[in-house]
Each structure stands twice: as structure tokens, then as C-alpha cells.
């Protein structure tokens, strides 16, 4: 049975290269150190299960002579073997503890801090992301996405606006809780360009299951361009979509360059370039956006955004406007 288990584990993991949240293969310095520790401890665990399983099986089915009668016993040899077993176990335990502490020490802080830092605030059930800069005019806010340059350690300051959430990008590193009244600090660094997925990993209420975010890793040049792009305010527009937006949405949402400055919901600047809607729940397409605006409570029951019951034309206009904000 344990052999089947080990086999199953291997088979299951073999198919995990394209699993977005799997962390036993990793593309970051933190993630890969944890991954090797993980593989090592998994190997020890599987080994222990096999050894104990074999010992158990042999002890049950080995040949014996004699009746089922109770008789005198001498356990000196048995105790000695128990001692051997405990000693071997202790060696593996101590070794694993030492390996753990070495790993912890090496991933607790980035090798050379880069000065790039991001403030991520968890809210019920989305992520507010603020890019820091020594130049105040270069700071900006976005939501539900992180964009970072490849090979650069990024400090992530973690806060919460309401309950405890947890920030986790499995392929790039371990998780860290976001606790109100505290600021926790973690750091991310990616070895390769690509898209990664993050997930809230502390039960935070009704929509804990649907609180995801994306992490996009770009080359340094692309990252600088992205940052500059994010700073651009929305161009002036007299579209009916913007007008509707100001009336129906601006109380909670903000768009840089317009008069909309609501902070209760995600910042929607450059919304058209975002990957997903509603914190990783739906891919960002216009039909999905229309669906979302009309049916928030059906798609994400309990979410703080009410169903607005706008006219179909109004919804369509707002969606067009938002998708145009690249």
C-alpha cells in the first residue's frame, strides 16, 4: 500500500510542471532552496514509510514455529534493535533540522537588497498594490497584480485592511501572513521571465477561495517601460462610459487622470492591461466584464461590490471604457 502511495506521489508530481501553484519545481532563488529541502524531506519520508512498511510486513508474515501459547520472554535483543531504530531516526531528524535552519537563514533576507519595494494590502477579497519610490511622483497604486523585473529581489511589505490574509506565490517563495496592525516583510525574486499565480492562503471569510493575483516577471527594460506606462494618467475623454463610471463607480474605484478617486475597491487605472477580473476569478475580456458588473453576487457571492442593475447600454459603455484603459 505504501509502495502504491510512493508511486502515486511520483506520478502525480511528474505532471506538475504546468500546474500554476505547484512549488516543487520553482523559478526563484527562494523557491528553489525550499524545493530542494522539500524534495529531500519527501525522499526521507517516503524512505521511512517504505522501511517501516517492510518491517511491519515482515513482522506480521514471517515464519514462526510453535503454538499460540503465552510463554516467558527475553527482550534484550529486541530493545537493542529498538535502540538502533531510534538512533537512526534521530540522526535523520537532527540532520533535517540543521538543513532547515540553514535554509531559513539563507532565505530570510535577500542577498543584496535592490531598493525596489512594493506595499501589498490584503482586503476582503482583493489585493491593493502600491509601488514605492524615493521620488513621490513615481509612486502609483494598482490592484490584483504584481509586475517585477527578472533577477531583482523585490521587497514586499504586507499589510491588511481588515482580517488576516496570507500572501503566497508558490513558484517564487513561501507564504507570509498579512495581519492588521502589523507590517510583515517578505521578498520575491524570479529567475525567469514569465507569469505566475498567487493565492490568498489564510481563511478570510466567504471568498477566501477566490482571492488570487498574478505576478508577471519582465525583463528590466520591459519593467521600466511598464512602470512609466502605469504613471500615465488616463487620457481626457468625453465617452459616455466615463460619465457613467463617474456616477456609478467612482464612489469606490479610482482611475488616475480622472476625477474618480474611490478607495474602497481596487484601483482601476490601466484596467485594460490587467489579466483578470475580480482578483483572479475571470479572464479580463469585455463579455466577462459585462457579466461581472451585472452579476457580482452570483459570480462571487458575498463580495463587497453590489449588483448595480444598470441598463445594458450603460454596462456596455462602462465596460468599453475600462477595456480601453491600456
Amino acid at each position: 500500500m505504501k509502495r502504491v502511495g510512493a508511486l502515486g506521489l511520483t506520478l502525480g508530481l511528474a505532471g506538475c510542471a504546468n500546474r500554476p501553484l505547484s512549488y516543487l519545481d520553482s523559478t526563484s532563488p527562494i523557491g528553489s532552496q525550499i524545493a530542494s529541502l522539500g524534495w529531500g524531506l519527501t525522499a526521507i519520508s517516503v524512505g521511512v514509510c517504505i522501511v517501516i512498511g517492510v518491517l511491519l510486513a515482515v513482522s506480521i508474515w514471517r515464519r514462526r514455529s510453535g503454538s499460540l501459547e503465552v510463554g516467558p520472554v527475553n527482550d534484550r535483543r529486541a530493545i537493542r534493535w529498538i535502540g538502533v531504530g531510534v538512533a537512526v531516526s534521530t540522526i535523520f531528524l537532527v540532520g533535517s533540522a540543521v538543513w532547515t535552519l540553514i535554509t531559513v537563514h539563507s532565505i530570510a533576507q535577500p542577498g543584496t537588497p535592490s531598493g525596489l519595494s512594493v506595499d501589498v494590502t490584503g482586503q476582503e477579497w482583493w489585493w491593493s498594490v502600491k509601488y514605492n519610490s524615493s521620488d513621490p511622483s513615481r509612486q502609483f497604486t494598482t490592484a490584483n497584480q504584481l509586475v517585477i523585473p527578472v533577477g531583482v529581489p523585490v521587497q514586499v511589505n504586507l499589510m491588511s485592511a481588515d482580517v488576516i490574509h496570507s500572501f503566497w506565490v508558490p513558484k517564487l517563495g513561501g507564504k507570509m501572513d498579512m495581519i492588521p496592525s502589523r507590517t510583515n516583510m517578505t521578498w520575491l525574486e524570479a529567475d525567469k521571465v514569465g507569469d505566475f499565480r498567487g493565492q490568498c492562503s489564510e481563511f478570510c471569510g466567504l471568498q477566501h477561495a477566490n482571492m488570487a493575483f498574478s505576478v508577471r516577471v519582465l525583463s528590466q527594460a520591459d519593467f521600466d517601460a511598464w512602470w512609466t506606462g502605469q504613471l500615465q494618467p488616463a487620457s481626457a475623454s468625453d465617452s459616455p462610459g466615463l460619465q457613467t463610471f463617474m456616477v456609478r463607480c467612482a464612489a469606490c474605484h479610482a482611475i488616475r487622470g480622472t476625477a474618480a478617486g474611490g478607495i474602497l475597491g481596487p484601483d482601476l487605472s490601466h484596467f485594460g492591461s490587467r489579466e483578470s477580473i475580480a482578483a483572479g476569478l475571470l479572464p479580463n475580456t469585455k463579455p466577462n466584464l459585462v457579466d461581472w458588473i451585472n452579476n457580482t453576487q452570483t459570480i462571487k457571492p458575498g463580495v463587497k461590490m453590489p449588483e448595480l442593475h444598470m441598463l445594458a447600454s450603460e454596462t456596455d459603455e462602462v465596460a468599453s471604457y475600462l477595456e480601453g484603459l491600456k
Partner: protein, 645 residues
């Protein structure tokens, strides 16, 4: 020399029966203090809660069988998973072990009853009423919904309006009273109410396990009771223990909860490990290998268990230095567990296994213990835990340890002691079907969760995305869960059928060595007509083990034995060497435990409803009942009696 109760001197037998038998009818049913009745009540009630918790799990598994199913709303799911955890952790896992211990301890220890029979009845009634208190919230859709761990601020009033978490916090304080009272009873019973000669190195390991767990509970339960009172006060009285707006600290809840929670999970498994340590040797036809090692490792595990609680908080951002300490301690705690595993395997290896149903469950337990243990070993590593925690890997780990180390020994233990409790044997054929169904179902359900966890599926989620790639594994888990449920149904069917038509068991169908097997099946209400005098760990195997020339005096036809028939009496002994030091008078039937419980219920419902008059009424009931309970009898002088007539 074991003799049948039929050989008891009839006038003595009549006297003992008259003294010890519970009154008939409804009064007796409500007022009994007989530890065997109370033990069976605990077993049945805890099992009912197991079934309810299991049903909750099956519904959850249906919702999770495929991505994005809409069988349950998020709110319904949150209530279900919270009640599943609360029910299993509080209303099943400890009470079922209390049931075994309550029934068996006096029989195993050679005593006539527990130290405090009325307190025993009280601990059962409080358990029952607290369980009902927690469950009345379900029909009104207000069941606890913040998880069994109830992290703040999510469970503060602002984010969890409604009475769900008031039911939870008050219910746990209510239940905690049962746990503490029961623990005190076990501790004092162990220290004082044993047969002469039952020194500490002759105690069954199950007694060691329950004693250790009880001592731990005495010290750990106040932490969660305090945390729950603070939660209730934050919610209903505006205090700021956890509320950040007033300077409160969310992590205070986690520290208090886990300072309780970690010792608690060891309390849930150590007595069950004791069951295996006592019953497995019977089916290996030899004593346990390394008795002293196992006893010491039981105590060591519990003590270490008080020093690892932060491993539930590895991702909270605590200083790396303290996390490292707790990680190291979490590795160290595996050492005593390893001792136990090797002792059990050695017992089987050097013994002659009998493939009866209990043996199958105990052998299966060893393997599940090791699998659960190694997944725990992996989470002990703080760096790896930063990936594993809050994922389905933990769900796999906790179910392997809880079902593997509690449920499997419990089911094996029921098969083992059912003959003693009822006088009938359970069906071996059904038993084997039960074992294999449960074993296969369990592993099919929970092994894949290791993989889903490693693939990043978070826990406590009501649904998941299709592109996470875990849909097929979740489907397998769901199927396994239902197979396991079939096993449980088979077990229940076996119990029901055996109660009506099982083969007669006789006194000692398994040819087991401990004192409970020297009585009839079921035992007489007074347990032993003559108090045994114990000379070794395995009184009924002494002739064959030939460890020494001393022989225990066991059985009812002993001339000049200690009969203690001047009223309800048993012998009290010194804690270590079990030298008789006092004759203890036991109370008879009493309604006071039930009345005290009703008063408590009034207090707690009053707090739930914020009703002052109900609280006052409950308080008055408590004071009056306690006064009646504790009133010294008139004209009571210090008595001294001769032990033998």
C-alpha cells in the same frame, strides 16, 4: 486463580448488588453514577457526533469533487467545515477516549469505581449539553463559520455578525468544563483508586496515556477557555483583546489557541496509542516489548507537546530566531513517537500474530501513524512549512494522524472490548470487511491530498479553479471518502447485529492478561466482589510468563479477601507503590450532576441571548446545587476500620 462470579458467596453477592446497583426507572437513568454506564454513554454519544461530523464531511466532499461546483454556497460551506472540525476535535475525539477510560479504568485498575463518581456523571452531562448547545445553531443557519480555529479578526463582530461565533466561544467554554472535570477525575483515580500492588510500573499503557492526557488537559484547556471568553467579550462587550482598533492583537488569539491546541491533539491520540499498546500484545501472545520505554515516551511526547505550539504560526512573521527554536522542537518531538513505533513492531515481530479484527486495526494503525508522522516531520521544517502550511498537505497530515491514531485504534478497541462490555462477540467476517473497506477508503480519500497540497491547493476553500489541475485528485478523494463511509456503516451494522445475536463471549475470549478480563462479561455492577491484589503487569498470564514467583490474587472465591461491603466502598492506595492507605466511601445515585448541568446550560444560554435574568437564574441554581452536593453529613466522625474481618 480466576474464579467465576457464580462462586461468590451468595449473601456477599446480594449485599454488593444491593449497595451498588443503580435505582430502576427514569430516576436511575438520570441519577446513575456507575462508571460503566457513563462510559457507554460517552462512547455512544461521541460516536453519534462522529457520524454527524462525517456527514458534514461527505457533503463538503461532494462540493469539492469537481471545480466550480455550486452544491453549496460559500456561507453554507464555511459553516460545514467549521462544524466538521469542531465536532470531530471536541465532540468526538476526546469523549470517545473518555468513554473507553471511564468504562475500563476501574476494571483495569482493580477498583470499584472512579475517584469521584458524581463528578464523572457531571462530566458526561456537561459534554452532552455543550454538544447540543453547539448544534442548536445549525437548524437556524447560524452555526459557527470561522473554522474550528476561529482566527480573529475574521471572527470579530465586525466581520462575523450574527451569533455563529458566540455559539462557538460560549460552547467551547461550556465543553471545557466537562474536559477539566473529567481530567481531574482521571488524575485522582489513577493516583489513589487502584488495587493494592498495582504500582506505577504495572499500569496498563492506556492508563498512562489517559493520565498524561488528563494532566495536560488540566493545564491546556484554560488557555482556550480564556481565549473564547475574550472573543465573546470583544464581540458582545466591546473589549479590545483582539480588536486592532483599540490596540488589540490578532496574534494573541493564535498564541492562546495553539498553546491549548497543540497539547490537545496529543491528548487526542496518546490514550488511543495506549489502547494499541495494551491490546496489540494480546494478539501477539506476548507482553508489550519495551513497556518502560513506551510509558516514558508517552509522558515525554506530552511534555514536549507544550513546547511546539508556534509551529502552527510559522507564516505569521514572528522573529526567525523563535521560529527556528520551535522548528527544532517539532523535530525532537518525533523521537518518542519513533520509540513507540519500534516497540509495537518489535512486539509483533517477536510475537505470534493472530489475524483477528482488532489486530488488523492495530497493525493498520502503525502504518497510518508513520505516514501521518512523516508528513508532520515535513511540516516541522519551518522553511518547507512556508509552502506546505495552509495547503491541502496539512489536511492530509491531520487526517492521517487523527483517523490513523484515534479512529483506527478506537474501532479496533471496540472490537476488542465489545465482548467484555456486552457479553457477546462481534462478527469476525464483518469485522474484516469493515477493516479493509475503511483502510482502502481512507487512503484513497486522503493520500491524494498530499499531492493536491504539493500542487498548491489552499485549504478551507469552497471551490477551486479548473486550471489548478487538481480536479481529478479531488474526485478521487471524494470517492474514497464515500468508500470509507461504507466501512463505517458496516461497522455500525456489525455492532447492531452482534448486540442482538452475537456469540456468547465468556469472561476472557481473547485470553488477555489484564484485570478487566477476570470479571464476567459484562462485569457485575460492583466490578470485583473481592478487591484484587496485584503482583505483576499481566496478572492473568503470570503462571505462563514466569517473571517471578509472586502471584496476584484475583477472582471472587478468595477466602479472607478484601470485600469492602459496608456500603459503597473501594480501597484507596498510595500513588506510587499502591499500598492501601484508606477506605473510600463512594456516593450513590444522585440527580445533582444533572441539576448542576442544567444550571450551567441556563448560564450559557443566558450569555448567548444576553439575558440577565437567565444568567442570574443559572447562577442561583449552581450555588444551591453545589451547596447540596458538598454539604457534610451530620454527626460524621472520623472512622477507622479493620481491613479484614
Amino acid at each position: 486463580m480466576v474464579a467465576h462470579a457464580d462462586t461468590v458467596d451468595p449473601p456477599l453477592r446480594r449485599r454488593l448488588l444491593e449497595t451498588w446497583e443503580t435505582a430502576p426507572g427514569l430516576y436511575g437513568w438520570l441519577a446513575t453514577v456507575d462508571h460503566k454506564t457513563i462510559g457507554i454513554r460517552y462512547l455512544c454519544t461521541a460516536f453519534c457526533f462522529l457520524l454527524v461530523g462525517g456527514a458534514e464531511a461527505l457533503i463538503m466532499r461532494v462540493q469539492l469533487a469537481q471545480p466550480n461546483l455550486k452544491v453549496l454556497s460559500p456561507d453554507a460551506y464555511n459553516q460545514l467545515f467549521s462544524m466538521h472540525g469542531t465536532t470531530m476535535m471536541f465532540l468526538y475525539a476526546l469523549p470517545i477516549l473518555s468513554g473507553f477510560s471511564n468504562y475500563l479504568w476501574p476494571l483495569m485498575l482493580g477498583s470499584r469505581d472512579m475517584a469521584f463518581p458524581r463528578l464523572n456523571a457531571l462530566s458526561y452531562w456537561v459534554f452532552l449539553f455543550a454538544g447540543i448547545f453547539l448544534y442548536v445553531s445549525f437548524p437556524i443557519g447560524q452555526a459557527p463559520n470561522g473554522g474550528w480555529f476561529a482566527y480573529v479578526p475574521n471572527t470579530n463582530l465586525k466581520y462575523d455578525p450574527g451569533i455563529n461565533m458566540d455559539v462557538f466561544s460560549l460552547g467551547l467554554v461550556f465543553l471545557g468544563i466537562s474536559t477539566v472535570v473529567g481530567s481531574a477525575n482521571f488524575i485522582v483515580t489513577l493516583l489513589r483508586c487502584r488495587a493494592p500492588g498495582m504500582s506505577v510500573n504495572r499500569l496498563p499503557i492506556m492508563v498512562w496515556g489517559t493520565f498524561t492526557a488528563s494532566a495536560a488537559n488540566l493545564l491546556a484547556v484554560p488557555a482556550v477557555s480564556l481565549a473564547c471568553i475574550m472573543l465573546w467579550l470583544d464581540r458582545r462587550c466591546g473589549t479590545h483583546f483582539f480588536d486592532v482598533a483599540g490596540g488589540g492583537q490578532p496574534l494573541l488569539w493564535q498564541h492562546l489557541f495553539w498553546m491549548f491546541g497543540h497539547p490537545w491533539v496529543y491528548a487526542l491520540v496518546l490514550p488511543a496509542m495506549g489502547i494499541v499498546s495494551d491490546a496489540l500484545p494480546v494478539f501477539c501472545r506476548r507482553p508489550l516489548v519495551g513497556y518502560t520505554l513506551v510509558a516514558i515516551s508517552t509522558v515525554a511526547t506530552m511534555i514536549l507537546g507544550f513546547g511546539v505550539w508556534v509551529h502552527h504560526m510559522f507564516a505569521t512573521g514572528l522573529p526567525v530566531m523563535s521560529l527556528s527554536f520551535f522548528s527544532a522542537a517539532s523535530f525532537v518531538i518525533a523521537v518518542p513517537s519513533a520509540i513507540g513505533v519500534f516497540c509495537w513492531i518489535a512486539t509483533i515481530w517477536t510475537g505470534k500474530p493472530q489475524f483477528k479484527t482488532p489486530f488488523l486495526f492495530f497493525a493498520g494503525f502503525v502504518m497510518l501513524f508513520v505516514i501521518g508522522g512523516v508528513s508532520g516531520f515535513m511540516t516541522a521544517s519551518v522553511a518547507l512549512d512556508w509552502q506546505l502550511t495552509d495547503s491541502y498537505f496539512i489536511v492530509a497530515h491531520l487526517h492521517y494522524v487523527l483517523l490513523g491514531i484515534n479512529v483506527f485504534p478506537v474501532v479496533g478497541g471496540v472490537h476488542f472490548w465489545f465482548p467484555k462490555m456486552t457479553g457477546r462477540m462481534m462478527s469476525e467476517r464483518l469485522g474484516k470487511w469493515t477493516f479493509w473497506t475503511m483502510l482502502i477508503g481512507f487512503n484513497v480519500a486522503f493520500f491524494p491530498m498530499h499531492i493536491t497540497g504539493l500542487m498548491g491547493m489552499p485549504r478551507r476553500v469552497y471551490t477551486y479553479d479548473a486550471d489548478m489541475g487538481v480536479g481529478w485528485l479531488n474526485l478521487i478523494s471524494t470517492i474514497g471518502a464515500f468508500v470509507f463511509a461504507v466501512g463505517v456503516v458496516l461497522f455500525l451494522f456489525n455492532v447492531w447485529r452482534s448486540l442482538r445475536a452475537g456469540a456468547p463471549a465468556g469472561d476472557n475470549p481473547w485470553d488477555a492478561p489484564t484485570l478487566e478480563w477476570s470479571t464476567t462479561s459484562p462485569p457485575p455492577v460492583y466490578n470485583f466482589a473481592t478487591i484484587p491484589q496485584v503482583a505483576s503487569r499481566y496478572p492473568l498470564w503470570e503462571e505462563r510468563l514466569k517473571e517471578s514467583d509472586e502471584r496476584s490474587i484475583v477472582g471472587d472465591a478468595v477466602p479472607d479477601g478484601m470485600v469492602l461491603d459496608q456500603g459503597k466502598e473501594t480501597i484507596g492506595v498510595s500513588p506510587l507503590d499502591a499500598v492501601p492507605t484508606v477506605v473510600l466511601k463512594m456516593p450513590g445515585d444522585s440527580l445533582l450532576p444533572l441539576l448542576l448541568t442544567i444550571g450551567m446550560a441556563a448560564l450559557f444560554f443566558g450569555m448567548l441571548a444576553l439575558s440577565l435574568w437567565l444568567i442570574v437564574l443559572g447562577g442561583i441554581c449552581e450555588i444551591v446545587t453545589l451547596a447540596a452536593w458538598l454539604t457534610p453529613k451530620p454527626h460524621e466522625a472520623e472512622e477507622r476500620v479493620e481491613l479484614y474481618e
